[in-house]
Assembly symmetry: D2
Homo-oligomer: 277 residues x 4
């Protein structure tokens, strides 16, 4: 089934659901999913409808919808059955998240194509090439981000996934790349910001470790959280075991974040991410 | 905030959300929650609205809504800001679920009053009386269910919670009591039906145990599942430890089921319970 | 079965398990549990044995064991089948943890007697008195800790449990009370230190909340972690719902911490708590 | 660090830990891990020691240990630092577990070499060949098991992992293959035995699904459980979503089971698997 989805947010007023469902009904839409949320006097909704028998194409829809959007001063994100979405993954030397996403695309679990992989190290190259995915080794250095931006210009990607890419991206890069950047951090944020969260977790003696996927913003590890997962550890587990066990959480939260992004199921409000089901 | 909630189910047709939100909008309702679900070509929705500035009382609403309900051949469940809901709990000799629900009502976590407690044993009496809740000892015997029905007639309860009541209720009782009966079973159903699930779980060598709250139907442990919870065990945990650890799950799933029931958030379809958020 | 348990820690050397098991074997002990852990070149062990047919009483055992302990410069904690352990609980206005522990003692799940309850508010008094437990209202003020210490002197308690006691205990109090103090904090530490962790968690947009039981040390929320538990939330859950949902974790981690403490299953090393099974 | 590990089981008698630790101490062993378990009057223990400065090789150790083993009528499993363990994986058309294990061997998380992959379908061939792993397509048919046994004879594998191999192995095959066979079943056993557990789980309306890794025995889905994992679902998740979400559990329990097997951390007793940490 080909579907379109629309996420909106605006001031919470009486009758908004009615207005939008009436608008879609008049255009022949069969709504197959509607989810709403109210927070802080603001209204958020995601609505998805079957495109069969729907009377408008994307451009026509945007024009017609603009009237409602303007009236209510809505922000909106539209996804109109775009097929064949492309993403890119940046990695360093820890390759489990990268390999996991490759696997999920191989078996069709993640409905996306990996346009290319970039890394500040060469380690991943043989693995990536096994899958005939273009690989770019872009070592650390002054023109690293410039090179990455040039590569990005050759491809049309929906988002950048940082698959344990251990290099901080500058605010300048984040603006210029012009797509969402999603990171996986190997702790349950906001605990253990920084480069060695498993070591820090061990030293603090926690009984639960975890991982977090989040948008990358200019402040390190402060972006909106998309997904988190935790697992139990004991005093008997070493830092090395934390790292091995934690991969399970890292892989899962990263894959879920990319999937939600590609399915147009996220809208950001303040420092929170609203994640539709 | 005083609110009303309406759960409906009907054949899935275009425009139903629009029709109902339009109907409520015209009556001055401010929708604060709307959740829908489609399954098997059937449409389910729960909608909740603020009663401030709403123009109808319950009877008026029922009359007006009947027109839509008839048109779409809807089933519906309406909860119109009923204050002060009463429940009853039946128990036997294991008292943790009973005590847990008493606590939750004491601190206002469960917004209900326990009208009375009935048990086929006398054990619970001193504990129940500490809280000035009427207690009825109704021993096992031929007229046990008749006695229970007579006690029920003296009270106006929304539902019966079986807080580890180890006695099977007859189909006749279930019909005559005329309210939903919610049980907590000490396994993750459908595993380990019957009276000794922890023993059975131990013998099978499972690594996870759990508990299930469900509606009581005429077939033992076969009613619609409302909530489940599991927890990890190891080979080192004895049957006795299973029983102690498992209480955590039992208490939680039972409390959640009663809360969902009292908040009008459950509709049953076939052998499945749709649980609104 | 009456048992004794001994926790030791010392430098990790060859033959320590052999030495201790040989020592116990010679005295007729039947070991029913042995658990060891090595960390940082340091050896930790808990050993538990059946006291039936054991040849020594507590004093005799301490004298004989001193020879081994001295030889290896061991720290040790001995629990020699002490019956009828007493604890005290301090609380403020949130009573779910207090009520939960009372329940667990009522049904024998926690093998302890609550000697008394103290609070800086009077709210808990009627509930506590239902169970004939002495209650002391010790309002905030200059001599509050002095009063608490005086009450403590009248009772012989194994530990103090802070059941959501919202008042910081001074370093002076912690030294003078002379028993371990166990707190429950309503976040998964080290995230969200301070008085309003659920508000902070909401603002940060986390997808998982939790609770932590830990020893109270002079630095706020920095003591050794005994147990943690987490649960999933969504953007749809309000701060109020965080507070309600979180109680589940708070009750559980607090009860487990008290149980482990009373069963002599904790030894502290640096900022970590080693928790035996 | 090169280590040896020994699992023993025998009647529970006084002094066994002492006897074995004394025996190892006399041979110069530094014990780095000891875990014991008592059940049903039977004693189980796993002991692991550093082989540096250890005085015996494997054959010598077996000879010397035989005296103790005979005296106590012990069963034992010895793993004497065997490097480079080989396994094989059988699969059908669902490839996520296969790919996941390949990944874990690629990054060194699972310390094993995949000797070959066999399948009753050809689907996996291109993926497997990317990693230069021999692939055998052995279609369903009368001589299928004979062919599999012939292939097995060419390799020296420690165990067979059934990575969603949807074909029942005969009792005859299980005897002749002469190594443990570990399966992953896509439900939390004993619920939902058979070929379509996700469909069955959906129809039953469960709120939790899961996966189980277990030894394959002659009775379908009845072997000793090694690991289980569960995850929450809602009424809104379809059977298709169950299948996608469930992969997470399947991959994890299967990987853990293979790891435990290769690390000599499992001993079977009756219908239960004792899993050392």
């Amino acid at each position: 089934m080909k579907t379109a989805s629309l996420i909106i947010s605006c001031q919470d007023l009486k009758g908004i659901i009615f207005q939008i469902t009436a608008f879609l009904y008049d255009l022949g839409a069969n709504v197959i999913n509607l989810e709403q949320h109210i927070e802080d006097g603001r209204f958020f909704m995601r609505i998805e409808w079957d495109l069969e028998h729907f009377q408008l194409n994307k451009t026509e829809f945007e024009q017609r919808f603009a009237q409602i959007a303007d009236k209510y001063e809505m922000e909106s994100i539209l996804d109109f059955a775009k097929p064949d979405k492309h993403i890119t993954l940046f990695c360093s030397r820890e390759l489990h998240c990268l390999l996991d996403i490759i696997n999920r695309t191989q078996i069709g679990e993640l409905d996306a194509k990996i346009a290319f992989v970039a890394s500040n190290f060469a380690d991943a190259e043989p693995l990536v090439k096994r899958f005939e995915i273009p690989f770019f080794h872009v070592p650390n250095g002054v023109d690293q981000e410039t090179q990455l931006l040039e590569i990005l210009q050759q491809y049309d990607v929906e988002c950048i996934g940082l698959a344990r890419y251990m290099k901080i991206l500058s605010e300048d890069f984040l603006q210029k790349c012009n797509v969402p950047v999603i990171n996986v951090h190997h702790s349950f944020l906001p605990s253990f910001i920084g480069a060695k969260p498993y070591d820090d977790a061990y030293d603090r003696g926690v009984k639960i470790i975890g991982a977090t996927s989040h948008y990358v913003t200019k402040e390190l590890d402060q972006g909106q959280i998309i997904e988190q997962e935790t697992l139990r550890v004991t005093h008997g587990d070493s830092i090395k075991e934390f790292k091995t066990m934690g991969r399970k959480c890292e892989k899962e939260v990263f894959a879920i974040a990319l999937k939600k992004q590609l399915e147009n199921k996220i809208i950001v409000y303040k420092n929170r991410a609203i994640i539709f089901a």
